[in-house]
Symmetry: C2
Subunit: 302 residues, 2 copies
């Protein structure tokens, strides 16, 4: 059967959005504005990259996509919470996200903070509750909760966000930044959750240690390449069209593309994509979606 990446991505996106839609309804206790605000951001579209990676990694191990679907959705819930909080006035102060007004501009700051908190907390509830119902072993679920909370917390994403805020201040003050600083920030702020999307999906698929190591390399490489390409697109002015760009000092000064230059950045992204693809060598045809996703992300033009 010929493989078509576009079809694969749009099929999985639909699967994920249907499941998210049902997971984010709380029939026993409708939440009024809070529920509306949660659903507004979680169902606003987006690439759904993280949950698609979870499903594709599960499939690469020969696992069943259905079994990874609830987990995939919880990672998207965590990603969505992080976007809602990042966009707040005291953080990045963004007015647009995924092409629509940011959560706080529509529902107010209090609702935006609470909605983010709810998405983050409920993600762990859904992870365990749905995980147990789909027959995932308790030991595996515990590992997954540990891995994801580690990647999302002060050892991962939140540390990256804290470094990002420091970098912004440094850039505003005219300080010098190294590529290492930027790579560390990216690897924590977006890389950690992307990597764990891959490895958690693989764990549900039943991966062994060796496979996990290879997929962790894949996840790390893809995560960083994705971010560097984002930086490049931002500089050349075709960055994420649903987002305001250039609204802070970081966008102008403290990006990979600004420090290394466009050409070197493209080279680094292509190097990373190569590493990602190489890490898949032993998985054969089952890893074709993962491989094409890496190539697509490393070479995308928008």
């Amino acid at each position: 059967m010929p493989f078509d990446l576009d079809t694969y991505l749009s099929d999985k996106k639909k699967l994920i959005e249907d499941k998210l839609n049902s997971l984010l309804r709380n029939p026993g206790a409708p939440l009024g504005t809070l529920e509306e605000s949660i659903r507004y951001s979680a169902l606003a579209g987006g690439k759904r990259l993280r949950p698609i990676l979870s499903i594709a990694a599960c499939e690469a191990i020969g696992g069943n996509a259905d079994k990874a679907l609830p987990l995939a959705c919880t990672i998207e819930m965590i990603h969505t919470y992080s976007l809602i909080h990042d966009d707040l006035p005291s953080m990045d102060d963004d007015a647009l996200r995924r092409g629509v007004p940011t959560n706080h501009t529509v529902f107010g700051e209090a609702a935006a903070i609470l909605s983010g908190d709810a998405l983050l907390t409920d993600a762990f509830y859904v992870m365990v509750n749905e995980g147990l119902s789909s027959g995932i072993e308790a030991e595996t679920l515990c590992e997954i909760v540990r891995d994801i909370s580690k990647a999302a917390g002060s050892r991962g994403m939140i540390r990256g966000q804290a470094i990002d805020l420091q970098i912004e201040t440094l850039a505003e003050d005219g300080g010098e930044l190294s590529l290492q600083d930027i790579e560390l920030m990216h690897s924590l702020k977006t890389g950690a959750l992307i990597e764990v999307s891959v490895t958690a999906g693989a764990k549900i698929g039943g991966s062994d240690e060796r496979q996990l190591e290879q997929l962790a390399i894949y996840g790390r490489s893809v995560g960083l390449a994705f971010q560097i390409v984002d930086d490049v697109l931002d500089v050349v002015g075709v960055g994420d069209m649903g987002k305001e760009s250039g609204n802070d000092a970081r966008n102008e000064k403290a990006t990979y593309a600004h420090i290394a230059g466009i050409e070197a950045s493209k080279e680094r992204a292509s190097e990373l994509t190569q590493s990602a693809v190489e890490a898949l060598s032993e998985f054969g045809d089952a890893a074709r979606p993962l491989k094409e996703i890496a190539q697509y992300l490393g070479g995308r033009k928008s």
Copy 2:
């Protein structure tokens, strides 16, 4: 051996604060301001009611307090995150908490939001990581993660907070509130986490279904009594001394004490304390700390 509640409470408080202190150090990756901000709020004192209840419930079942200690600390981490976010300008806009300036007045809003996010996320990491190292079974840990995330998320505490914000608006607009509305808000906003503190501690202690049911009644009753007494103390002007009082419409109009009156509120608190104590009848002497805590909370004068 004679039992002295004050000694019991201060011993457990020390145990909890020492453990929290070590859990909230991240030697591999110091977080700078973020770590300072997290530690500032988590180690600012407070009654440590929730973690003490976890430990006392574990002991009531004949379990080992040490085994419940990490879990107890994670519930305090979740409670602390909720205080940091509740105090934000767009929420309750409080300047004092536990007798010291609130997190955002010291570290700024961005750090306060991030610190809350980190405490919440890290709580799940610590729960599973420390839980597995202390030999808690994966099945039990999964149940505990599920119970706590349910109690803290949009099915519990966050729903209560959303109702509280609605009630505040209603009160400002001169709307009528019922005692049922207030009880529902309290049972979600503070009750759910207090109840799960008790039941999660009991699960670590090895409780059976029947014991869990009784302890859930205990937890629910104590949680609501605690909040009603808080309301009464707020009205008579000796509320939580570390907190500003009367700074919003809710404090004046939309409290249990305001609607039911002081006397009826005291009666309801004493009724609830009675139910809590009765629910302990089958546990004998091992539940003495739980019993005295309920009586202390129901009758406290500050």
